[in-house]
């Protein structure tokens, strides 16, 4: 049972699944630790690797699920392109090693700060191939930007955490790299004022591509960060325009050093504030205007991304964050915790009866033997 199953082709994977009789724990290489507490034999997609198609002129890339994100990003960089949804790297937060795979990114619908401007991973996912629990190879979507042919199983597979099928290939929309980047920094805002500032910026015509706030930045003081990207002249213009728009909320500086701005947003993206620390880490998806109240109710340390629509919270081990939050539009996911805490509190927020029944119905059909990441999503 300790051997990792690592099929090297889609056909071999289909054979493994068709003949499996006991639970499988699906991973890329496990950098997110999502399935680490589950029972079952580990089945890794890392044996299926390689970019199968890259057309810079059509902004499309197709890769086998086990391809490392690093390999894809290096290939894209050669043509001055990028994965615009800016996937988070979980290794620092989770204390894991290995090279994150694109299949893992898609299975967990991992997105970064640019989510507010360009959408999530699922919005950049054009097509998938996967093996379902009956051992059937299924494709859905394709490699074109617009596709409404049949049901959108592409979206369904993104963020299904391996519970409906094992991804073998994904097709992604990529975008050109930007010429310049600037960050507007405002010091000393309360969480409520920071959310107000971020809302005003995101509701402006200046195409803000990142809006984050930390109540205790590197020097211990609150910092609000707003990012604009694009052609150099346009970036300079929009950064100044934002500065003017937000002048009454506080003084701001414009930082446009490429290395510093990149490091700053990696800090936000990878939730570096909670690296190497003790305690559980939660991720709360909410309406931005609810974020100040939720941060207050949560207690503990918080980091706001997506203009307040995403709240990262660090709490003492075993604390039930969900019980602390009064009613809101959204949900909380337990990202970093011991296996014991995950068992007790559940990784994903329980849903109402009808949604639970729908999700269970889908899992029953796509995974009739109930072998994929059993117990992870309900």
């Amino acid at each position: 049972m300790t051997d990792i199953l690592k099929p090297e082709s889609e056909a071999a994977l289909a054979e493994v699944i068709a003949t499996a009789e006991t639970p499988l724990r699906i991973t890329g290489v496990g950098t997110r630790g999502t399935t680490s507490g589950l029972t079952g034999q580990q089945l890794s997609t890392s044996g299926m690797s390689g970019v199968t198609l890259y057309e810079p002129g059509a902004l499309t890339l197709v890769a086998r699920a086990g391809t490392s994100v690093a390999e894809i990003e290096a290939l894209l960089a050669e043509k001055k392109q990028r994965l615009a949804f800016e996937p988070m790297d979980h290794r620092g937060l989770m204390g894991t090693t290995g090279e994150p795979t694109i299949g893992g990114i898609v299975a967990a619908n991992v997105s970064g700060p640019r989510r507010v401007a360009v959408g999530a991973c699922r919005d950049h996912l054009l097509g998938v191939r996967f093996v379902d629990g009956r051992g059937k190879v299924i494709k859905n979507g394709g490699r074109v930007m617009k596709n409404v042919t049949g049901y959108d199983l592409v979206k369904l597979m993104a963020g299904s955490f391996g519970t409906l099928g094992v991804l073998t290939e994904v097709s992604l929309k990529v975008l050109p790299e930007v010429e310049a980047r600037a960050v507007l920094l405002i010091n000393g805002l309360s969480v409520a004022d920071a959310v107000a500032a971020m809302s005003r910026a995101l509701g402006s015509p200046y195409e803000v591509s990142g809006a984050a706030h930390t109540p205790s930045g590197l020097d211990g003081h609150p910092v609000t960060m707003l990012r604009v990207e694009g052609f150099a002249e346009s970036v300079a213009y929009r950064a100044k325009a934002l500065q003017k728009l937000l002048a009454e909320l506080g003084e701001s500086q414009i930082e446009d050093d490429p290395a510093r701005t990149k490091a700053g947003w990696n800090w936000v993206r990878n939730v570096e504030a909670f690296h190497g620390s003790q305690g559980d880490v939660w991720r709360v998806s909410c309406k931005p205007s609810d974020a100040p109240r939720l941060a207050e109710e949560a207690g503990g340390e918080a980091l706001l991304d997506w203009g307040g629509g995403l709240l990262w919270v660090q709490l003492p081990e075993g604390t039930d964050l969900r019980a602390r939050l009064s009613s809101y539009d959204g949900h909380a996911t337990l990202v970093r915790a011991s296996a014991k805490t995950r068992d007790a509190l559940s990784v994903f927020e329980p849903q109402n009866e009808i949604l639970t029944r729908m999700a269970q119905g889908l899992r029953d059909r796509f995974d009739p033997k109930q072998i994929f990441n059993t117990g992870l999503m309900g």
């Binding site: 059509a58 902004l59 299924i138 617009k146 409404v148 299904s160 509701g203 931005p288 959204g330 999503m377």
Partner: protein, 477 residues
């Protein structure tokens, strides 16, 4: 095109079903007179018509739930309908169905500028969603050509796109939440004002499911602040290949135009005759629109001009005023009307990888000559979403069939080069029988399994999307 045999048992119970619906709905909300139901006999795919058994026009979610509960309990097929503007026959009735129309549900329920969303009843038209937030400088991005008439319900069912999707995405990228009524009449919220729905992405699954998984009565939509300004350029080329290469270069240069529209010579000529937009008589024409402040627009148009110049355009016309911008868009916007003036036409919607544009345009020309039917091309080039318009004469015996056969060949070509049958119109009945050219039996079965979960009795719009023989056993179970 075949439709299933109407269920005689259901038709025999018509008066009872009508009475049950009338009891559950306000006065005047049930239409069953044969002269009046005819108003619902088709959508914008007018080649096919079939009056429904009756029509229910509820005014709120609870009434929608009541209608669906009655139909579910009595095994009556239901065809949901937004504004009836589907080009794919998505709202085409069957003779034994209840048309469930949401047209009377068009209220704005909530606008929230701080959190950038609007919540509406789904009978509201696309353009009037933008209209509701316009005075505060906001808009709703997806803009199908039918936006004046089409309803959000249909936009969600078909995952509609539009000319500006290149930058802003299609419906699914701008949809935050829905209130869904299941075929059994249960009401459930999926997603909401927050950015990521919890659990499996059921929201993404519902969007584009062509009204087969449930009826969406309310939608939470992302709204954006309008750009400071926008300006188009018109670029003419003497070959499709060169125009295609120019599109690819613009995209790769890091410019993100809001729209790149492409018209070929047959289309340009028809449009010019009809709208007199002053277009050059050339082989291919691009309209590229960029957004931002004046200085930003100047900069982007400067880059586009450099790129285009390398391809020796026969014309590069930059707009210098609002009137000139309107003139540039005039021809494109009247393209469909212009075609309608000269002929009957069928509008296709296949999508291809942008790199295959020259090849596909060449092959379409050959096919068009082979069939002896003219094809004009007007489409969203930036994302490869083609709209070949096949011209035919509906009054000429066999012409419609010939046109459909040519259409099918063109769509199979789109699939063959790595594209798909439909980019933004949906499958409906129109492309139903071509699904096997894009998907294997296993691929289709996976989709049918999804419908089994949401509509186990296969009552909801069941004759659409999938070939009838593929769904036969489920529909008759």
């Amino acid at each position: 095109m075949q439709m299933p045999q109407p269920n005689q048992d259901v038709l025999g119970r018509k008066s009872r079903i009508v009475a049950l619906l009338a009891e559950a709905l306000p006065e005047g909300a049930v239409i069953h007179d044969e002269n009046e139901t005819r108003a619902y006999e088709c959508d914008a795919l007018t080649a096919y018509k079939c009056p429904p058994m009756c029509v229910a026009l509820p005014t709120c979610t609870e009434e929608v739930a009541a209608v669906l509960r009655i139909c579910s309990e009595n095994n009556v097929p239901v065809v949901p309908r937004g504004a009836g503007t589907s080009l794919a026959g998505g709202a085409l009735p069957t003779a034994d169905c209840v048309i469930l129309g949401v047209a009377r549900m068009n209220e704005v329920l909530e606008t929230d500028y701080d959190n950038r969303f609007i919540r509406v009843q789904t009978g509201r038209t696309n353009l009037s969603v933008s209209g509701a937030v316009e005075e505060n400088g906001f808009f709703y991005a997806p803009d199908p050509s039918s936006q004046l008439a089409c309803a959000i319900a249909g936009n969600i069912a078909m995952n509609s796109g539009g000319a500006h999707c290149l930058k802003y995405g299609v419906t699914t990228n701008n949809l935050l939440g829905v209130k869904l009524v299941t075929m059994e009449g249960e009401i459930v919220e999926i997603g909401g004002a927050h950015m990521d729905a919890a659990g499996l992405d059921l929201l993404g699954l519902i969007c584009g499911s062509e009204g087969q998984l449930g009826v969406v009565t309310e939608a939470t939509l992302r709204i954006l602040h309008k750009p400071e300004g926008a300006r188009p350029v018109l670029i003419g080329f003497d070959s499709n290949e060169v125009a295609g290469a120019c599109v690819s270069d613009i995209i790769q240069a890091g410019i993100l135009p809001v729209a790149i529209e492409f018209m070929d010579r047959p289309c340009i000529r028809a449009v010019e005759k009809f709208a007199k937009a002053g277009y050059p008589d050339c082989e291919a024409l691009l309209i590229v629109e960029v957004e931002g402040s004046d200085a930003e627009i100047d900069h982007q148009l400067g880059l586009i001009k450099d790129i285009a110049s390398a391809h020796n355009p026969v014309e590069f016309r930059e707009s210098g005023s609002a009137e000139e911008s309107a003139a540039i868009w005039l021809g494109r916007k009247s393209a469909f009307g212009a075609m309608g003036q000269i002929n009957d036409y069928m509008c296709l919607d296949g999508t291809i990888p942008v790199s295959e544009l020259p090849l596909v345009l060449g092959r379409i020309r050959e096919l068009s000559q082979g069939y002896g039917l003219e094809v004009a091309n007007v489409f969203h080039a930036g994302d490869g979403n083609m709209h070949p318009l096949i011209l035919f004469n509906a009054n000429k015996d066999g012409d419609l069939e010939k046109c459909e056969a040519l259409g099918a060949d063109i769509l199979r070509l789109c699939v063959e080069v790595g594209g798909c049958l439909t980019g933004e119109h949906g499958v409906g009945v129109e492309k139903r029988d071509l699904m096997t050219s894009q998907y294997t039996a296993d691929d289709l079965e996976a989709q049918l399994l999804v419908k089994d979960v949401f509509d186990p009795k296969w009552l909801l719009n069941a004759a659409k999307v999938f070939p009838l023989e593929v769904t036969q056993s489920r529909r008759s179970a």
